[in-house]
Every structure is written in C-alpha cells, then in structure tokens.
C-alpha cells in the first residue's frame, strides 16, 4: 500500500460491508497505514535525538463552569530548548459539543485531532445521532492507547478532552495518559509542561458554577502563571497580537473566542499584573 485508499480496484466491497460505525475501526481493517499509530516499530535506532527536537505542544487548561466548560491553550511549540512556533494552535473542535486539546509531539497531536473529528462525525452520519459524551471519551482513550508503541519511542501525545453533556446539562473534563484512560476530572484540570503552575493557579482562582466569562478569565490567568514559570509555555504576545486560544463548550455548542475577544481578556490580565505582577491574591483564611 502506498498510503492511498480510494475504494477502487477491488476495494469497493470494503465500503459496502456492514460493520461497527467507527472510522478508525474501518481504517484499521482496510487501510491501517493511514492511522497515526502505523509508525510503531518502524523507527530506526538513533532517532531519539531527532524526536526530542520535534516541536512539542505545551500547556492546556480546562475549567467547568455554568452551562458548560472552558478549554484553553497557550500558543507556543518548543523543540528542545528552542521556540519552534509562536502561533501554534492546540485546541480543536471535535464536534458541536466537545473539543480536545493536545500536549506532546505537535504533529502527531494534530493528526489525532483530525482523526478524532472524523471519527465523531462519521458515527454521527452513519447512525443519525451523536455519540454520548462518555462514548466520545472512550473512543479517544482507544486512540491514545493505540499510539502506545510510538509513545514509548518518544512520539508521545496526550489529549485533554472537554465537552458539554447534553443529557445532564453540565460541562465535563476527561484526561488521559499515554496508555489511555479516560480519567474524569472534576472542576478543573491542566496538562502539559506548564500544567503544575497552571493547575495551582486555577486551584486558587476557581470557584464552582463560575459564569462562562469568569471561567475564561481564570483560564487566561492560569496560562499567564504557567508562562511566568515554565519556559516552554508562551504568554500573550502583545506586539504580534498572538493570544491564547480559548474555546467554550456550552449548551449553545462549541465556540472559539475570536482573536479580538481573546485579546481583551489578555489585556485585562496584563493590565492587572502591571499593578500586581503575581496576579490576584487569594485570602489566607477561608471565610465563614
């Protein structure tokens, strides 16, 4: 196979066979070389150095809020100790009510996001209904686990999945490790190199049932804190007008904040940090 599959020349039957409505399952059966995991076992020795210098995506934050969930990421990709890209996007719409973001090898993550989009849409078109949110999270877990062998060779990518659960009417967050998952996270979560700092910041800023706009602000603050202490996480780039990608998934569906809106949030955060460089202070004692 040359990586091209067109359903012609004896392949037509593949399309007509009854099967489970999973796109990755179809590819695994009929065109496995199109899957990201097809790299497994093909990497020659000595490729570790090259892989180490591939662009890596860094920090992602998510926070559940009123009517849904916010998912945001910074814009930096790093290759070793260099900045390889300033305006990379690592938060992707999966379908109308969910989104995924990636940390790890950016190119593999990009392919994951694309495959996962097709996977969800394929099911929806085949069956005439959307997968449940758990169904989507489980499919993603399988895709991550299928990538285990390449991950062990350095091509690791880990997603963070967030969605609005149409049945219960709340936003939910799922995290993964290289062996799969999903692990449901409550309230908020962060992944990637700056996640330690972002999560600590969110812990102090987060409160239950925040309005969407406040959860967005909390996420932008958390990303700023991550960029403050982690060299691989990029802060808002005012001269170039590059701001974090912020998405909201609510009962209105998926929405990516336009750049102008992301700019407003970033400017607000920067403005406040001019006065208080470490950001908002949490009270030392819990009020009664």
């Amino acid at each position: 196979m040359n990586g091209h599959f067109d359903g012609g020349l004896g392949q037509a039957g593949a399309f007509m066979t009854a099967r489970i409505p999973s796109f990755t399952h179809f590819l695994a059966t009929h065109a496995p070389d199109l899957l990201p995991a097809s790299l497994a076992g093909q990497l020659p020795a000595g490729s570790a150095d090259i892989i180490k210098d591939l662009p890596h995506a860094t920090t992602i934050v998510a926070a559940a809020c009123e009517r849904g969930v916010v998912l945001a990421g910074d814009r930096r990709a790093t290759a070793g100790n260099l900045i390889s890209k300033r305006d990379v996007e690592k938060v992707f719409r999966s379908d109308e009510f969910s989104a995924m973001a990636i940390a790890g090898v950016a190119s593999v993550g990009l392919e994951f996001a694309r495959l996962f989009q097709v996977e969800l849409e394929h099911y929806e078109k085949m069956e005439g209904r959307s997968l449940s949110l758990e169904g989507k999270a489980n499919r993603l877990a399988k895709m991550v686990r299928d990538n285990l062998a390449p991950a062990m060779q350095g091509l690791a990518v880990v997603p963070l999945f967030a969605g609005y659960d149409e049945e219960t009417g709340i936003g939910r967050i799922f995290s993964y490790d290289v062996a799969g998952g999903p692990w449901e996270e409550h309230r908020f979560h962060s992944i990637g190199s700056g996640s330690v700092f972002a999560k600590s910041a969110l812990k102090k800023l987060y409160s239950d049932d925040m309005p969407v706009s406040e959860a967005v602000l909390a996420c932008v603050q958390a990303l700023y804190d991550a960029a403050d202490d982690d060299s691989a996480t990029g802060g808002p780039d005012l001269p170039r007008k590059i701001f974090p990608v912020v998405t909201t998934i609510t009962d209105d569906g998926f929405r990516r904040l336009p750049d102008t809106e992301a700019e407003e949030y970033s400017e607000q955060v920067i403005g406040e940090r001019m006065r208080s460089p470490d950001g908002p202070k949490a009270p030392l004692r819990t009020g009664s």
Binding site: A12, F15, M16, F23, F26, L34, V118, H122, M126
Partner: protein, 302 residues
C-alpha cells in the same frame, strides 16, 4: 440445466425488474433555490431516512428499497470520510461520489442476479448557485448531471414534468418548497403521452392530497452555513415553512391548470425563467386517480 438466455434478454429482464420495483415507491425531488439545495421526500418515518448528509456540502437522497440504498449511503459516507481524511475536506466532491456510485451500481447490475432497486441523487452546494451540482444515478449505474432540479424514484417522469413548470432560478426557500410539494402532488400526466412509467399505478397516490409536515422528510444544503451545510427541516420550523409556501402558491393557482400537460418530461430542464414564472400551477387538491401505491421502499406507509 439452465437454458441459454441471450445477454440482451438478461439485461432487459433485470432492467424491467428494477424499473417496475422502483416505480412502486414514491417520488422525491431535489432542487436548487437561491440559498442552496432543497430536497423533499414523502416519508412518514422520522428514523429511516431517505435524505442524508454525506459530507460538508454534499447530500444523498434515494428512492427504492431501503436496505439497499442505506448500504449505499453508508458506503458513500465512508468513501467521503476516507477521502477527506487522506487529503483535505475540500477534496471531497459530488462528482467523485457520483462516479463511485455509478461504478458500484453498474458492477452490481452486471454481476449479480438481482439488480439494486434504487435511484440515487448526490447533490453538492457550491459557493455560488453556478457551482451547485446535482447528479442522478440509476440502478444500472447510468449517471446524469441534472442542472437545477431532479425528480427520482416512483413516477419520476411526471413529477419532473410538473417541477419543470414551476422551477426557475433564484427561487426562495418557500417558493422552492411550494414547487416541490405541488410537483410531488401532481396527478399522473393527463394525455401528455409522456411514455415510460406513466402506465403503472398512480405513483404518488395518497399524497395527491396535501402532505403534512409529519408525512414529509425535508432537508437543505444551506449555502450560507460554514463547515457542515446539511440541515433537516422538521417540526415547527417545517410547519411554518409549509404554511408560508401554501399561502404563496395558492394565490396564483386559479387559472390554466392544463399547462403542465404539454411539457415533455425529457425536455431541457432549464426552461427560461420568464416562461416558468408565467406558468400557473394546476390546482393541487385533485383527488388521487389511482390506488395508492404500496411502495417498494421498505418504509411503512401510514
């Protein structure tokens, strides 16, 4: 031991079989309007669809046997998704899908004992109306490019003739829906001698009376939408639209109801807009002239 049967005879028998089975079903239409492409099919089921999404800008509509066109629909979705995943979403085209369907149906028609009893339409909405494409693929794999509008399944010839009278470029959605409903409700051609198919039972039988929202499956490819353009119209939205379209079409339905009868179904589909605009639709409330068809499409009738 089998007797010798000439290939001509085999093909003719297969074609007759498929044609007669398809004619037992109900007709469906797909037509252009200013904002996209509208597809209408009489279908009381809300779960077993005749019209579906194939890809971002491409829809699938079918008449005939449900299990067969459903298998074809799923194959088309897979074909489109594999192509779009390998290349880019823009690289999935109605032309390629129509060709794939033509190859597949042609192969099945030639190779298997029983041909598929289906008629398929693949429609793609373009950035401008000039880029819209509508393809019709029949049971033997013949494919035709149908600019503007197409009727298929059941008594397609009569419905196409009726639709031709009413279709013109740049219709609004309401006008297009009105035209589609009138065409679907058109009685079998009267004295037009339009030939094939019209000899059998009145195809759209029961629906010659007014179709209600619950009996219809209506979907559009909406040119203005980004990403996925396919939308089903149903429930209150459809009822509202039906009421609107009936209000507009009934106002001009008083005169010249025989204008539909002198149109040959195989004439060029893009009639001059002026002529089409003047043609007054015949009254749509005539009683059905034949027994209602027990459709061969596997979808239960009310």
């Amino acid at each position: 031991m089998p007797f010798y049967v000439s290939p001509e005879q085999v093909m003719r028998d297969k074609a007759d079989y498929a044609r007669s089975r398809i004619a037992r079903g109900r007709s469906c239409v797909a037509l252009q309007y200013a904002g996209g492409i509208l597809m209408v099919a009489p279908n009381p089921s809300t779960a077993l669809h005749k019209i579906s999404e194939l890809y971002d800008r491409i829809a699938f509509a079918a008449g005939g046997r449900y299990n067969e066109y459903e298998a074809l629909r799923k194959a088309g979705v897979t074909y489109a998704d594999v192509t779009g995943y390998q290349f880019d979403r823009r690289d999935v085209t109605a032309r390629a899908l129509a060709n794939w369907y033509a190859q597949t149906l042609g192969g099945i028609f030639t190779d298997s004992n029983k041909p598929y009893e289906v008629e398929i339409v693949v429609a793609e909405v373009g950035v401008t109306p000039d880029n819209d494409q509508i393809y019709r693929i029949t049971f033997d794999g013949s494919v035709s490019d149908e600019p503007g509008f197409v009727a298929f399944g059941g008594q397609a010839d009569q419905v196409a003739a009726a639709l031709k009278e009413r279709f013109h470029d740049g219709m609004t959605l309401t006008e297009a829906l009105g035209a589609a409903l009138e065409a679907l409700a058109a009685p079998p051609a009267q004295g037009s001698g339009s030939g094939s198919g019209s000899g059998s039972a009145a195809g759209n039988g029961a629906q010659a009376t007014e179709l209600t929202a619950a009996q219809l499956e209506v979907a559009i490819l909406d040119r203005a939408r980004a990403h996925r353009t396919f939308r089903r119209l149903r429930g209150p939205r459809l009822e509202e639209l039906l009421a609107e379209s009936r209000a507009t079409t009934s106002s001009g339905a008083s005169a010249a109801s025989d204008s539909a009868s002198d149109a040959a179904p195989d004439a060029a589909p893009d009639a001059p807009a002026a002529q089409a605009a003047e043609a007054t639709p015949p009254a749509s409330d005539q009683p059905p002239t034949g027994p209602s068809a027990a459709g061969g499409d596997g979808i239960p009738k009310p």
